[in-house]
């Protein structure tokens, strides 16, 4: 047995190496079985999987709506649906993709599964709250579906007043659904922050925290601080519609611009809720597949926090043409550019990480490179839109549509898929078909660009968004875009096909198929019910690829009372002796 002895000024502890099993007989999926065990589980891994299933379902629903919208745009005026149906479709496409897919995608699905593993914890800090978060999500989704079937909504996902105060349909119900989903998001945020603060394994100091955790930490802060504002705003819209209290509708003495301020105060930071966890995924995958220490750990970790904080101060850049004061526009434009800098820093740091690495171009890394290009385009067109004069021309045109799809789909969905492919073996214990994964990544990349690049051209030419009808000049661009969207859809279907197929006949995965140093790879595949049979002890950072693997598999030789998170226990590498074989 390998033994190692770590000592610090205060306390000496005995550690030993725990080698993970490749295919243990008992794991989290078979220790408790049956539907009831899933529905009542407080295991973060199962909750993560339930989130994963739900968001996948809504991703496909939202995707079908996107295809219907694109099909309708094949010709100007009516192709196969009425204007009102079209308006409802793009509204629901946006609302479903944002509230039911993007916001919970990486944090609630992948984050739930991976975060405690990376921290060396047996679960999140509040497992029951975690389950409640899932049920709130389901309840909110249920209410949203109910509202779709009961009149639908045609306001756009932004619910701008006074249109939303006056239009027919089920706006109030839908708004209530989003309100409930918001609480799911807040609870996840509270849970993650507490978990990161209180549940880290012995020796896991802040400077050794994996960057995925830093990303989730920054995200959680935004979720907790911004989501309540959305809840309040939507509650006010509901009050206006039900009780006739004039808040936003000028016909009742309200101010419609006030709504936009409230709405974007949440919804701009929400953009970062959607993308910052993706940044975390990128850092994990880049280091693993280049077997190299991350370049500029603190720059990447702190830039996520910087984005989270500055992100709160830029909402007014959605309102340059709303009639807000020129001075306000100037300040918002300035701060918008500042938020671009930490994002740029990340891109450069990731690129520098590749330098002198040992790069293995496996499918997760391929998805990350897809992310790189698409997010770069999305980010740089964001610089274009941050400039007031250019925004005056491009605001509410297809340029904006293309921009945020590059960021949200090209950035976040690609990062999410990368993360899914990366952690899939750990989650399911199966390997997917690598060749198919690479082909699908290529199809998605091509389909995406064919769909959205023409939209930049249309937007610059002046094609407004949310248009059912359009002038003939734009038809070729719309048709190319529509063709691209079907290619994109095909790519996503292919991913779904080979991932599901791998569950049944995929090769069994080993504990650490990628040779990563991160903690979640140092336990069994599939993970045990309570994650660790031992209390893990951290002596190295998660990206210390210059150190041997056995130094990453240490745990307390004797666990005193199970949880092992003795707060005064301090492990330092000073005076540490490690006897490897």
């Amino acid at each position: 047995m390998d033994t190692a002895e770590s000592s610090s000024t205060s306390k000496k502890i005995q550690v030993q190496r725990y080698k993970p099993d490749d295919n243990p007989e008992k794991h989290y999926l078979n220790e408790e079985t049956g539907l009831w065990s899933w529905l009542t589980t407080v295991d973060h891994k199962k909750i993560g999987i339930m989130f994963l299933g739900s968001i996948t379902f809504f991703f496909f629903i939202g995707g079908i709506m996107a295809l219907l919208v694109r099909t309708e745009l094949w010709t100007p005026a009516k192709t196969f649906i009425e204007a009102n149906t079209y308006n409802q479709l793009f509204t629901l496409h946006g609302a479903i993709m944002i509230f039911l897919f993007l916001v919970p995608s990486v944090p609630a699905a992948l984050g739930n599964f991976i975060l405690p593993l990376q921290l060396g914890a047996k679960d999140v800090a509040f497992p029951r709250l975690n389950l409640m978060s899932f049920y709130l999500y389901l309840a909110g989704a249920g209410i949203a579906i109910f509202s779709i079937l009961n009149g639908g909504i045609d306001t756009g996902w932004t619910f701008y007043t006074p249109y939303s105060s006056t239009t027919g349909g089920a706006v109030t119900t839908m708004v209530f659904g989003v309100f409930v989903i918001g609480f799911s998001s807040i609870l996840t945020g509270v849970n993650f922050i507490t978990t990161i603060h209180k549940m880290r394994a012995p020796g896991l100091t802040w400077d050794k925290l994996p960057l995925f955790c830093w990303g989730l930490y920054a995200t959680s802060i935004i979720q907790i601080l911004a989501t309540p504002v959305l809840a309040i705003t939507l509650a006010l819209v509901g009050m206006e519609r039900i009780l006739g209290i004039g808040i936003f509708d000028p016909a009742m003495g309200g101010d419609p611009i006030l709504f936009q301020h409230f709405f974007w105060f949440y919804s701009h930071p929400a953009v970062y809720i959607m993308i910052v966890p993706g940044f975390g995924v990128v850092s994990e995958i880049i280091t693993t597949f280049s077997r190299k220490h991350i370049f500029g750990y603190w720059a990447i970790a702190l830039s996520s926090l910087a984005i989270a904080f500055i992100g709160f101060l830029v909402w007014g850049h959605h309102m340059f043409v709303s009639g807000q004061a020129s001075l306000a526009s100037m300040v918002f434009s300035f701060l918008t550019f500042l938020v671009g800098i930490p994002t740029g820093i990340k891109m450069f740091n990731w690129t520098a990480t590749l330098y002198k690495g040992s790069i293995d171009l496996k499918s997760p890394l391929l998805y990350i490179f897809g992310f790189f290009f698409l997010f770069l385009v999305g980010g740089l067109t964001g610089i274009v839109l941050g400039s007031i004069a250019l925004d005056v021309h491009l605001h509410d045109t297809y340029y904006v549509v293309a921009h945020f799809h590059f960021v949200m789909v090209g950035g976040m969905v690609m990062a999410f898929l990368a993360g899914l492919h990366y952690w899939w073996p750990k989650i399911t214990g199966r390997m997917y078909n690598e060749t198919m994964a690479k082909i699908a990544c290529g199809i998605i990349f091509v389909g995406f660009n064919v769909t959205f690049l023409p939209q930049f051209v249309m937007g610059s030419q002046g094609m407004p968004r949310r248009y059912f009808n359009y002038i003939e000049q734009f038809q070729p661009f719309h048709q190319v875009s529509t063709v691209g969207s079907f290619v994109l859809g095909l790519g996503f279907l292919m991913v779904f096909y080979y991932l599901v197929r791998s569950l049944f006949n995929g090769k069994p995965a080993t504990a650490n198929p990628w040779g990563s140093r991160a903690l979640e790879w140092q336990i069994n595949t599939r993970p045990p019910l309570h994650n660790f049979h031992h209390t893990p002890v951290i002596v190295n950072g998660p990206y210390d690829y210059h150190k041997p693997m056995e130094e990453f598999q240490l745990g307390l030789a004797e666990s005193s009372h199970g949880d092992g998170h003795d707060s005064d226990l301090e492990v330092t590498s000073d005076g540490k002796e490690i006897k490897a074989e």
Partner: protein
């Protein structure tokens, strides 16, 4: 170069459009260079440092302060240039010259209306003189709309309950399309208009002819004028004339027919009912249709309403 220009941007037809365009090309040009550069570096690294064996050892490089400061400061300087430049053009777009000619703009679902100092009115078509600053004072009657002229690179939301302003100067006579760019319901994408830039003299003539606004041109029969008005006032955005279903009931065959309403009552369509529907659309809401029509009280005069009714009568 010109081909790329025409491919990406509409023609520049206002005095400020060129300024916006220079910034547009500057940001896109530098972004393109950055993108190609970064992607090239990544491709080079991926090839050069591809994994050669499972035992590859990588150097322990954690950070490099000089490098990191460089790639933070250079982009910072660049974006500050873009910020300052964009703001400067924005101020030019915002500060209205003192001698600007004023036109009032009213937006409603789903038409643009323009009112001139001498009482002239125009719907859907904004007539302005060339080579003179024009100031638009805009307000909405219902929800938020947005006035967008791509050729001028200008856009401004039109908000109910308050006035917003914008100005432009089109040096050459010509025509440019107006879009509504703030989503406003079923007719949003049909809420188009046109700026018609006249030579000064031509504009004065147009203005004089339309002073007081809204009387029948001599050469038209009442129903012909009614058809023209229905087009201009965008009635046909919601009401078809061929029997097809749109946002509002079709006009074909409606005159003399029995119409049933949301409250269960019915009426035979006659002149009085049509007049009431134009002036008080929500007094009787036809069954199966949303109550979204605005009143045209104070906008259409009696003569115009009569003409539209005459036109509807011809649609059998």
């Amino acid at each position: 170069m010109d081909a790329i220009k025409d491919f990406l941007l509409p023609p520049a037809k206002s005095t400020l459009a060129e300024q916006t365009d220079s910034l547009f090309w500057f940001v896109h040009g530098s972004s393109l260079i950055l993108t190609i550069g970064l992607i090239a570096v990544i491709i080079y690294f991926v090839y050069k440092y591809r994994r050669k064996s499972e035992d590859d050892v990588t150097p322990h490089i954690t950070h490099n302060n000089a490098l990191e400061v460089t790639w933070s400061v250079i982009p910072l300087v660049l974006v500050l240039i873009v910020f300052g430049w964009g703001y400067q053009i924005f101020m030019n777009q915002t500060v209205v010259p003192d001698d600007a000619y004023e036109v009032n703009v009213t937006a409603q679902k789903w038409i643009w209306q323009f009112q001139y100092e001498n009482g002239a009115q125009s719907t859907g078509k904004l007539h302005v003189p060339a080579d003179r600053p024009i100031k638009l004072i805009m307000s909405s009657k219902d929800v938020i709309h947005s006035f967008f002229v791509p050729d001028y690179r200008l856009k401004q939301d039109v908000v109910p309950g308050q006035y917003t302003e914008m100005w432009f100067n089109a040096p050459e006579p010509g025509e440019s399309i107006i879009y509504c760019t703030e989503y406003c319901g079923d007719g949003h994408s049909d809420m188009l208009g046109e700026v018609i830039v006249h030579e000064e003299e031509e504009f004065e003539n147009w203005l004089a002819e339309n002073a007081g606004g809204g009387s029948k041109p001599d050469e038209l029969a009442p129903e012909e004028w009614g058809e023209q008005l229905a087009q201009e006032w965008a009635c046909t955005t919601c009401h078809s004339t061929d029997g097809s279903q749109m946002t509002g009931p079709t006009w074909q065959g409606t005159f003399g027919s029995e119409q049933s309403f949301e409250d269960g009552s019915t009426v035979t369509v006659d002149e009085n009912y049509l007049r009431e529907s134009i002036l008080e659309p929500n007094a009787k809401v036809v069954e199966g249709f949303p109550a979204v029509m605005n009143t045209y009280q104070g906008q259409l005069n009696d003569e115009q309403i009569n003409a539209i009714i005459e036109y509807i009568k011809t649609l059998k």
